[in-house]
């Protein structure tokens, strides 16, 4: 697993708990067409956008926005 993937998973864990990896895998595969394990810094901006959208369906908008913002700061 790439370092970027590890950082994204670590950040998301505090918001999504046991659903983290399934949620991120769905965003990566469905929207970015990459595996979660192979994320790079170039994917971060798009991932943050899709995470905000997807997370908005299962948590309140503020938290989803906060999660996306934290993911977008990953380098």
């Amino acid at each position: 697993m790439s370092a970027v993937s590890d950082k994204v998973i670590a950040i998301s864990k505090t918001y999504l708990g046991p659903a983290t990896e399934s949620f991120l895998a769905r965003q990566c595969k469905g929207h970015l067409k990459v595996e979660l394990a192979n994320l790079t810094a170039a994917n971060i901006k798009d991932l943050a956008k899709w995470v905000q959208e997807g997370a908005g369906l299962i948590m309140d908008a503020d938290k989803a926005s906060q999660l996306a913002s934290r993911i977008s700061s990953v380098t």
Binding site: L16, G17, K63
Partner: protein
């Protein structure tokens, strides 16, 4: 320091304990102060009363000695006896002055001191008048001069007697005043202890209320969320009320609810996809 429930409880109860300690210390100080004031006031009042009574006794003794002296003054013999009466009267006057000086030293107010100063002055005048009367009576007991000197002595004796009586009244008043001082200190101490205790009680109630609110409101909210989730309603937002253990619990709960929502959504999606695939296979 993080405002955890443990820290809030420790701070709240430490505050209440400190307050109780302050109440105990003030109460102890008030009792000690009351006892000290009471001892002082009682000692001074009783001593002044006793000195005033002693002065009266010496005044009566001095007058009795002088009366005996004057009764013997006309007698041709008995010089030695007369001198003895005179010495004893002088001794009594000195005693009165010594006792009055002691009373002035401990008198609690200027008014009290003035009464005993008057006794000193009256006894001095008594001594002078006595000396003049003795000299005049030696020269001729029946002379006009002796009669005038004896009358002046009697006035001085009367004045000393009145002053001694005033002194006794002042001594009695000092005792009474000491009792009033004890009453005043007692009332002040009781009011102080009641005031501080009431303040302690109010603060204790406020701290308990705030602690109860800080714990009960977030716990009640979490209970409502748990009930909703258990009934299948996953849409209720989990609020983090405070940055403490209950706040951390709310975060954990929020994560769990989010994960359950996601898994449910994923299951529904998988089911839809499966159903679509079945429709495609069976046209």
């Amino acid at each position: 320091m993080k405002a955890t429930i443990r820290n809030k409880l420790v701070a709240g109860f430490s505050g209440v304990l400190l307050l109780m300690a302050a109440v105990a210390a003030i109460g102890g100080y008030a009792v000690f102060s009351l006892r000290h004031d009471a001892n002082d006031a009682t000692r001074v009042g009783a001593r002044l009363n006793s000195l005033a009574l002693e002065i009266q006794v010496h005044d009566l003794e001095a007058s009795r000695r002088v009366k005996s002296y004057l009764a013997e003054a006309a007698a041709p013999s008995g010089e030695k006896k007369r001198q003895m009466y005179l010495d004893e009267a002088t001794f009594e006057i000195n005693e009165i002055q010594s006792l009055a000086a002691k009373a002035m030293a401990i008198a609690p107010t200027p008014q009290t001191r003035a009464k005993f100063t008057k006794i000193t002055e009256a006894s001095t005048q008594f001594g002078r008048s006595l000396a003049t009367a003795v000299a005049a009576n030696k020269a001729g007991p029946d002379s006009e001069n002796a009669k005038a000197a004896t009358a002046a002595y009697e006035d001085a004796a009367e004045d000393l007697h009145d002053s001694a009586e005033d002194g006794e009244v002042v001594g009695h008043d000092a005792s009474q005043t000491s009792l009033e001082a004890i009453d005043r200190t007692s009332s002040r101490s009781v009011a102080l202890v009641i005031g501080i205790s009431t303040l302690g009680l109010l603060l204790g109630i406020t701290v308990s209320y705030m602690l109860a609110r800080a714990i009960l409101i977030p716990v009640d909210h979490l209970k409502q969320v748990a009930e909703n989730v258990s009934l299948g309603n996953l849409d209720m937002a989990v609020r983090r009320y405070s940055d403490d253990e209950i706040g951390d619990l709310a975060d954990s709960f929020s994560r769990m609810v989010t994960a359950v929502k996601f898994f449910r959504m994923e299951a529904e999606l998988s089911q839809s996809e499966a159903e679509a695939a079945v429709h495609e296979v069976k046209p």
